[in-house]
Every structure is written in structure tokens, then in C-alpha cells.
Symmetry: C2
Subunit: 760 residues, 2 copies
Amino acid sequence: MTSKYKYLGKTTEAVDALEKVIGKAAFGADIHLPGMLYGKVLRSPHPHAKIKSIDYSKALTLEGVKAVITSKDLPSLEDARASFGGELTMDLGQIRKLLLADGKTLFDGHAIAAVAATSLEIAEQALELINVDYEILPVIENALQAMRPDTPLIHPDLYTRTLGEKPKAPSNIGTMLEHQRGDPEKGFAEADVVVEESFETAMVHQGYIEPQACAAWADGDGKVTVWTSTQGIFNTRDQIAALLKITRGRLNVVPMEIGGGFGGKNDNLLQTLTVMLAQKTGRPVKMIMSRDEVFRATGPSSPAYFTVKVGAKKDGEITAAYIKMIYDSGAVPGGPLHLGWVASCGAYSIPNLKIDGYDVVSNKPRVQPYRAPGVTPVVFAIETTMDILAEKLGMDTLKFRLRNCAKEGDYMPDDQKYARIGLKEVLERVASHPHWNTPLEGPNRGRGLAMGMWTGATLSSSALVMVNGDGSATGVSGQVDLTGTRTTTRQIIAEALQLPLEKVQVRVADTESTPYTMTSVGSRTTYAFGTAVYRACQDALAQMKARAAPQLLVDVGDIEYAEGKFWSKKDLEKAVSWNEVARNTQTRGEGMVTGRGSATRLPIAPEFNAHIVDVEVDPETGKASIKRWTAVQDAGLAVNPMQVEGQMQGGVTQGIGWGISEYYYYDKGKLRNPTFLDYRMPTSLDVPMIDTSIVEVPAPDGPYGIRGVGEACIVCPPAAIASAIYRATGVRMNKLPMTPEAVFWAIKAKEKQLVAADGH
Amino acid sequence: MTSKYKYLGKTTEAVDALEKVIGKAAFGADIHLPGMLYGKVLRSPHPHAKIKSIDYSKALTLEGVKAVITSKDLPSLEDARASFGGELTMDLGQIRKLLLADGKTLFDGHAIAAVAATSLEIAEQALELINVDYEILPVIENALQAMRPDTPLIHPDLYTRTLGEKPKAPSNIGTMLEHQRGDPEKGFAEADVVVEESFETAMVHQGYIEPQACAAWADGDGKVTVWTSTQGIFNTRDQIAALLKITRGRLNVVPMEIGGGFGGKNDNLLQTLTVMLAQKTGRPVKMIMSRDEVFRATGPSSPAYFTVKVGAKKDGEITAAYIKMIYDSGAVPGGPLHLGWVASCGAYSIPNLKIDGYDVVSNKPRVQPYRAPGVTPVVFAIETTMDILAEKLGMDTLKFRLRNCAKEGDYMPDDQKYARIGLKEVLERVASHPHWNTPLEGPNRGRGLAMGMWTGATLSSSALVMVNGDGSATGVSGQVDLTGTRTTTRQIIAEALQLPLEKVQVRVADTESTPYTMTSVGSRTTYAFGTAVYRACQDALAQMKARAAPQLLVDVGDIEYAEGKFWSKKDLEKAVSWNEVARNTQTRGEGMVTGRGSATRLPIAPEFNAHIVDVEVDPETGKASIKRWTAVQDAGLAVNPMQVEGQMQGGVTQGIGWGISEYYYYDKGKLRNPTFLDYRMPTSLDVPMIDTSIVEVPAPDGPYGIRGVGEACIVCPPAAIASAIYRATGVRMNKLPMTPEAVFWAIKAKEKQLVAADGH
């Protein structure tokens, strides 16, 4: 790939690489403070139980135990709401319920109490001295059970919300979504072929390497500092501030390096407990989750159920679609229903569309986003249905996609209109790709295809760009770097200011010294935050021009700038270097130049992709081995191609796990596989070299055509694998994960069917 | 005092008080990093010697020793200059000479080498294993000796600079200053009385409680973080960056709480050594000075010599003055000559004036500023001369001052013109003060008076003010808080934004996340930095108005704001609260409001004061005991009266030490009293309750009439005490300190004179 830019579109050194490789990067657990205590959480072994009493008097007598907290130590919800007076990414009442069980436990692993002690060992001992009297309640295991009219209510105060309507009766359904466009009934009537299928997907975990970790310190005058790895320091600040009634400005959240988040480090349960213990003891406290706690008590992804019905004419044109989506949000409502809806069939141009959605509670941990939240399951359902439909129409599955793919002017599932998007270019790249055009070799092999999209979050971003006295520039923000965004931000600044890369630094500082910026989620950082950075650069450049003008004795309007030089367009001899102007800010006391940039309410810059996969299914075991993978994605502009490829490959790898091996195994509400031994993530043996192909159809808004790239790449793999398995074995897998066992039995069932059919 | 402001002019809680009182505030020595090493410096026992060789091979064999550095580890001066390309507050070549002796030692305590080891004990042991072969050179003990033509040159490459002239021949004089206005010769000819006196003052130390301390860490990719207590994080960054050829943006300086600076924490010798050791070992390193090192090897104040000649008419009008000032700057040039000159006789209106000044090197530590740098000694000389002159004229010493005091439109010693100043009001306050009007009681008592001024630094300042989503505001800067400026900054923000004080926080962050701002020196913070803060508030307020306008559907020009409420001046019903507008920045995603403020090239806002002191001199011992003290000072606006009083009382206390007990005792260039036992600072027994009286004549520039207050208060005490001793004993003290011994012998000499006179 060649780039018309000097620093964009090039693979530059990752600024954090060396530190991470040599072990000097400091993560959430790497804070040590004098006099620090260690905290540990007592977690419920029961998925659903009334708490009749908690007696921790014995724990307090253990030498070294400094404090025990329970939900009684929390401010009341009413007080907290009144004091906070803002909005959170998660309902305050719901996160409070999750934080510490208040009268009843909602899932296996729910925090009951927390202890701070002078050592981890003492803290763990103390947990055993806490007596909790439980009254076991019936377990609501999943969304389908929860929705049955005779199922007991998990939250008697949960009223179903339907968009635009008043709350209905209490139920286990948090939100109902009904959306329609065009005339689906008429659309289906016009169809020559209609396919309807049902699907089920499992609860899976983001599987980040670093467990949640946090240190907190409450100063003498009540000011709190929190060091933690989080996706959003301001979100962390606001959640803790709201729960504990702390003025936002009196709570400083310092971001540590983050060892993977993928959406799973948005909640702040552990952080809030750490602060509570720090406040109660007056000493610094550190808490680190064990892997068991990470699995049982953080937010995995939502398991879901779908029915997809699509109709098309003989020529392949889709006339109508209906999608029913049920997302299980776990202990409290608020799963990814909305995000799943918006992206679901967003890769298709569908004139008549109806979508029904349900967000349902059950006795499982409350879900959190996981890379393109809610979309991977629904794309698995939609793409499998489309694959079947194409087959029924006798059309090549790629041509069917090309016939129906979304393009500029089409509408998303939520009726937003697309600006310029790159899906067609992605599919054309697939069509011409060697992988697509090389025949499969050997038996039991199949090739699958799937496409999908991610809307791309924008939210609200802020950045500062400071010009230092030596002409170097520093980008400062509170935008947490999950994926290499310090490196891409550096490139954007170098490009915008036309400065050598080595003169640009990027700093992610704390909530107390940076302007408010929202969490690093939804592929928004490079595009939306990058826009704020770009604007801050423009602002800094304008200030630099205004400084240069009087030095050159010309009007600022006559000043041109390029490559480190300002000059008068009326008199080319009148020129001064960037460094000279910068130096004068210090040496002549002209004062600093600080560029300021915000980006709010940006138009979305959706990301589209398509994946080709070859699998070989072992007929003896049902194991689907991935033989070859090609991911094609529209990056708008790949700021740092190697990082874009890394995102694509990472997304595919996680998608493979979701597709063929990962799932939460619940036994009457108790999680039986909370270890990496039993919860099977893909290893290097399960994943081939993943080939990537980057398409660049510039996003029309924002600088340089940049689009986010981190999420779309996870949405296709399960569907693509299912399609490949079908072509290798003739069986359609409508349930995730497609484990060897599941595929084996599906093959067996198919053989039985064939035998039975033969028999007739 | 009553104030027309809501938050200014009131004594509000000091934001850092509780933390400091309960021991939670973290100072320079309070950083602990995993794997940290301890550094220690080998210092020269010889004030002047050639270094023939340094052999540290044995030290390196000691277990636990990780590195030894000498001047050989420094980049060459030429490289460093070329790489830095800016300006420093101290000449790069000179600070490099001080940092590590390069071929020759310049003073007792000069750093020769530094060691990093796994413990402090091992580091200290290692120092003893370093062999240095010295060739002793003659010691140049003071400026007078240094200026003699036959004295050897300390720096053969030191050429005397005279303002506006080319360097002259090499000498021990760094700078010569010649300044004249009017016609001094004619002025003296017109005088009825002329007095000429000579004076000598001692080298004294700032005497801060906290010794210099620093921790440093060089990341894997060469990025350096420094934690230290310093008066200026950007100055620290720039000095280290220049000396060690580090890009400024790759060096982050984090300010710790500072346990007193008073000008003495501007250089960065220890910090630079710490960084060198951190770079060489790849591990975190901490260094803390012992008190012995603080005395021997940091920057005390300049000892000085003066001749003052003043002529006046019979009616008291001063017609001419001549001042010769010789400042001893220690090992390398650059003492307080310029600052001493500018303020010297700035309290007087003098039509014909001649000043000759010399900045001279000697074999002592290089001086650093000490509270009104250079002014206390010269005011001692001038005020004593004026006191004598008033007596010779038969005029009351206060009336003489009132007759000649500087006022608006008069000229400073460097010919800057005064805007509105408050000296006359200060003297009028003295005239009406009970202390001045209460007769002295008891024998051996005398009352002294002195007046003086401090120009007030302005330099260059930057600040950000962020409006948080809960309506609170946070001031962010890199402006180090030496004296309570977080508290006064908070008051300024609360006043400017009309927000309750508890909704305002102030943060001093590091060089990497804040815009460039200059060091906290010269009483500039509350006035000059405060102006930047005020401007940042105005900027934030303008942005908030721009947000409120569309919410109220009115033009932004019609928006009024007061007390947390925006409204339309055309329709009072149209109103929205500050909190609502702030909340929308987060909840409606309108993006943050960050106010930006700079203040550069501000006009000065000079501070004037006058002190009254009653002393009792014990004729048996010569000890002058301070019985009563009143300090009257123009604060412009006393933002926080208790803090202003604290500054005044602190300045007086330090001035008392300078006046009667403190001095560096050098014996052939070796410091013999580098402990608080032998270096006698005032204790609570030496200082009475110091009464303060604040005058408020607003400074015409900058917000709210604020002036700096921290420096003027130290310039009068020695002169006032000398005047009181004269009135108690009849002896004039022309040399500091006026120890009991000195006063005793002066009294004896006077008696001898009288006896001799009687005898004749």
C-alpha cells in the first residue's frame, strides 16, 4: 500500500512496545504504596439466594484485618442519585445491585462482602470467618426461562421498557424493542423464496490476559486517587463518584497500562470496592482479581437467541427480513440489545424490515460489551440464514451478497442513512482475492464466507496538543490506549503539524489533569478521538501562525505553513522556522501554545468487512480445523497498517474461539469452567496465519478518511466457519459454539436423517 | 478587613493543610519504586584543586554497586548546546561545571562522582573506595580578593560582560554594571548633607526544612520520569534535558510537595545526577541530600559589599545617590546583581543616580536566589545610610522617608516608570500605627524603621480551567505551589466563575500533561500566574455562555451570567443553571469546556513595605533581642489574608536570622558550620509575635488588583534591626550578621572612642 501522507498509512514503531516487551510497563496490579493493605472479596456460591444475615465479627478479630464492608456501607441509592445528578453508562441502581449483594444474591460469584488486611493471606483467611445465612431461591438459568410467564421475577421492581412507551408490568424483560420499516408483510409476499431459521449462542468471556486490578488511596481530606487499568478513566471516575457520593473533582483516576479490555473493562465493581476499603481504613488498598473471579464476577458477553426470516426474489433481491433477538443480560438489565439491533443486518440493503428485541435478566453475571457488542451472535444468525437463502436461490453466496450489500444512501436497521461506505469494495476484493479463487484441496473441506459491519461509536472526545519550547509537540488526553492509539495519535499529530515523528509525544494522563473524554470503546478512538486530536492540531497551528506573523511583520492571513516552516505568501523571503517560533514561546516569554480540540456528535464512520475461511472437519471427531483465513476490511485510511492488521487478526482469533470452542458452562446457575483450562480459548495451534487485505474507502467525515477498525473483524468468524462446516459436511450449525462434539452429533443426526430418508 | 469579593480577601482553608499536618503529603524523598537503587555523591574536600585522576575501579567491585559516574559521562558542552537550542535560567556551561567537577574543583562540596547501589549504606561505602588525585590550588575566598589584579583566575575563560559592551579581558568578574541617570555630580553638589558608608553582608542559606531529594526512572525506550521537589518543573525539565541531551518531551518531571524553597530549589544538580545514574543502571534511582550537603553544595545567597553615598538638601529632599554593589556569586558567575540593582533604592525617588555593580566569582558554592534575591543586603546598606542621613539632617527618620518615597510616575533604579504603587500608604499606616506611637519602655532599647521593595517577577504563565460534568471546575497547571498558591488559585477560580469554593479544585500536574509555565519565583505566582488563571476562567465562561445560548434559544451576546446562572438579558425567564450547562457537556455529549489562559509580558506589580522593630541590647553580651515587630505591606489585594500574614511573618523571621545570627563560616574555603547546630537560624525563642498590617493599593494591571507578597517582607529586617540597635546603643552596625559578639565589640570600640575623645 502506498499512502499520500507522510506519517499516516505507514507502519511506525509502536510507542509502548519496548516497555511492554521488557516488562517495564506498569499495569493495574503494579502499584505499591507505603502501608498498603490487600483487599479480597467474599463471593456468593449461590446463583440466587436471599441473604438473611452477614456476620463478620469473627473476621474483624483476626490480627491484620483492618476493615470489612458490605452493602450496608454504601450510601442509599436515593442519596447517591441526588448527589450525582448526571448520567452513567450503566444505571446507578443496577450497578449498585451488582457491586455488593443487597439483601439477595443474583449470580454465582456476586460480591457479598470485602475485607482489607495487611496481607493477601490474612484477607483470604478472613473471608472464611464471615458467616452468611442464605435462603436459596430458584435459579433462573437463561433468558428463555426468564421470559416464561410462570417464572419468578428476579427483580420485582423491574418494569419492561419499550422504546417510546411507558413501562409495562414488572417482568424479567428489561427492554422490548419493536422496529419496522417498509411493509414486511408485503415484502415477504413478494418473495419467491423465504427462509426462516432459529439460532442460539453462548455466553463467552473477553478473555483478556490481565485480571481486573486496582489500588486506591483516600487522602487525609477525603480526596481519592485510584490507579487502575480501565477502558475509560472518566467513566471509572463517574461510576465510583456516583456510587460513593464523591465530588467528581475530588476523585482522580490514573490509568495504568491495560492488558486487554475488549469491552470488558467498563464496569468498576472492583475499583469501587477498593475505594470503599481505602476510605474505611484510611490506608492505601490494592485488589487484584483471581482468574476464577474474572470469569464468575466480571461482565462476559450476552448469550442470545434469534429467529431470522428473509425473503428474496428469484434474481436474488431481498424483499423483506424479520429478526427476533433475545439477549440475556444476566443479573441486571442493560445488555447489548440496542447495539446488536443497530448493526445486525446493517450489511444489507433491505427495503422491508421488522425487528423485535428483548433484553432479559437471568441469574448470571451482568454482561458487558465484548468487541462489537451483541453483533457477533446476530451476524452468525443472519449470515447463516443468508447462506441458506442464497443456496435455495441457486446463487453463488458471494454474488448474493454483492446483489444485496448496503451502499451509500441505504438505511441501517435503525433507519440511519449511510454516507459513503466501502462494503461493495470489500466484496469486490473478496471476488478477486486468490483465496476465493483457489480451489479447495482434499476431502472434508469447505469454504465459508460471511460479511458484517460495526456502526462505530463516536461519543464525545477531547484532546490537547501542546507545542513545547524545543518545537516538539505533546498530545495530552485522558483517552485510554487499548490498542495502540498512542501510536496512531502520534502519527495524526505528526501529519497535522507536519513535524517529524520523533518530535511528537502522546500522553494519556489522569482525570484530574485532562479534559473530559469518553471511554475507549466501539472503535471510536482513532476516528472520533482522532478528530479531536486533529482539531487540537489545527488550533495549535493557528496559534503558531499568529505568533509567526508579527515576527515576520506580515498579516497572519498571509502566513503559510509547511514542513516546519512559516513564510509569507506575499514575500517568500520572509520566513521563520517552526522551531524558532516554538523557542520564542519559552525564551522570549511569549507563552505556551496549547491547541484544544473536541469532537462531539460526529457522524458515524461504519466499518465493513468480509471473511473467507477454509475448514477441514474430521468426520471421526467433528473437529473443525481452520486451514486458511482471509479477512478483508475497509479501514477508511489505515493509519498504521500493521496495527490494523493486528486488529483484524485479533478479531478473527476471538471470533474463532466464539465460533468453535468457548462457552460458559453453567450447571443450575453454577459456573463449572472458570479457568483457562476448562474455558477453551484458541491457542496458536487452533489459529492459522490470518491473511488480511485492507480496503480504503475514506469516511467522508473526520480527518483523512479514517474509520475505526477494531470491531467488525470479530462479527464474521462464527458465521463464516458455520458456512464452511456446511460445505465440508452438509450440516448447518445453528448453535454456538460449534465444538467437535456438537459437529459430530450434527453429522450423526444428518446421517440418521439420510438413512431414515433412504429407508422410506 | 472587609472585601468586596465573595472568595477573595477571605481566609479560606488551605487545601494542602490537612495532608501536610497528618503526614500524608508526599515530598521529594517519598517515592519508592520497585528495584530502586540509592545514589550518593562524592564531594570534594578541597575548595580549589586540579583533579589529576579519578579511580573508581575498586568501588565497582563492591557488591551492590551498580554504577559510578563522573563528568566523563556527560555529553560535551558543544553537543549539549547544539542539541538543546534554547535558553536556560542558568548558563548551560556554568551549570555543567557545577554538576560534576570537570578537571578541577571549584568549592568545598563540589561533586566529583556519584554512585548508585542497592542500599544507601553500600553507596556510602563505595564513595570511600573512589581515589581522587588532587593538586591543591590557592583558594580565592571572596569577591574582594577575587577582584584584585594579582589574584589567579578561577575560570581562565571567564570574560567580563558589561551591559551593552563586548566582553573585556578574562577576570574573576562575570558582569560589570554601570548605570546612571540625571547628573549625580551635580546632584551631590546641590546637597547640603552627604553621607557615605560601606557595608558587608554574609553568605546565608535559605534554610528550607526539606533537603533536596529526587527519584528518577529511565524507561526501556529512554523516556525519563523524574519525581522531585522543585520550584519549577519546566525549569527542571529543561536543565536536565539540556545537560543530558534529552528531548524535552521525553522527560517528564513530576512535582512532589516542597518543604520550602525560597529560591534555593531552582538548580537541578542532584536531579541531573539522579537521572544519569538511572540511565546508566536502567533502574530507578533515588537520591537525598544530607544537611551537610545542602549547606555545602546547594545554592545559598550571595555575600555582598556595598558603598552607598546619598546627598540631600536641608529640607530632606534627596538630590543624588551613588551605590557600588559587589555580589559574590561563588563558583561560577550569575549572582543576583541584576535583581539587586533593579530593586535596590527603588523605594526612593532619586533624581540623580549612579550605580556600579560587579558580579564576582570565588571558591564557594554558586549562589542561588533567596527571597528577593540580592535585595536584602543592599537595602540593609541603603536604609542604614538613609537613617544616618536623616539624623544628620535632624529629621525624623519616618518623615524623611515620607519626604522621599517613590510614587506613581517615579522611576525605578533601572529607569522603569512606576504605575500606581502603595509605598506612601504603607508609610502613612506606619505613622498612625500604635507601635510607632507607643513610647519605648526600659533601658537599652531602641526602635528601628526600614522600608524597601521588591520589583515582582512576571515571566510567562499558563493555566487551564476545566469545567467538569457535575459543574465543578478544576484548575490545571504545572505551577508549583511553594506558598499556598493552590489555595489562592482556588479562590481566584471560584471568584471568576462565581462558583462555591467547594466546587473548585486545583491540580499541579507534571510537565508532560500541562502547558509550559515558568518557575514559581519572585512573588510572581499569585499575580502573574493568577492572571493566566483568571484569563482561563474568562475563556471557560465564554465557552459556557456559548453553550447556554442555544439551550435558551438566544444570541450568545444576550447571555448574562452570575452566581451559577445564565439568563437572557432580554427575557429574564429564559434561564439555565451553570450545572445544567455543565451536565450537558457529558450527558448530551456536547464535549468538555476547557478554558485556556496565558499571561506573558505583564507589567510588574511591585510590592512595598516598611517594618518597625523594637530591640533590647544586652550591654554585657551584645545580644540584640527582638521585643516587638510590626510589618506593614501593600498586598494590592490580599487574596487570602492569613496566607499574606504568613508570608510577612516568614519573611521577617528569615530577615531576623540574616540580620543577627546566620552566616557561612569559611576557613580558607572550607565550610566549618554545615549543620543547623552551628549555623544559627532563629528559633521560636528569637522571634516575637510579628504583627502585620496589610495595605491594599490595587495593582493597575492584572485581575483584582493583586500584587505578589512573598519577597518584600525579607528586605527590611536587617536594616530595621541595625537602626534599632543604633538607637539602643549608639553604635552603627555596617556588617551582617549583627551577632552578640559583633555588637559587643562595636559597643566596646565606641566606648574606647568616647574614652579616647574624653582623654583628649
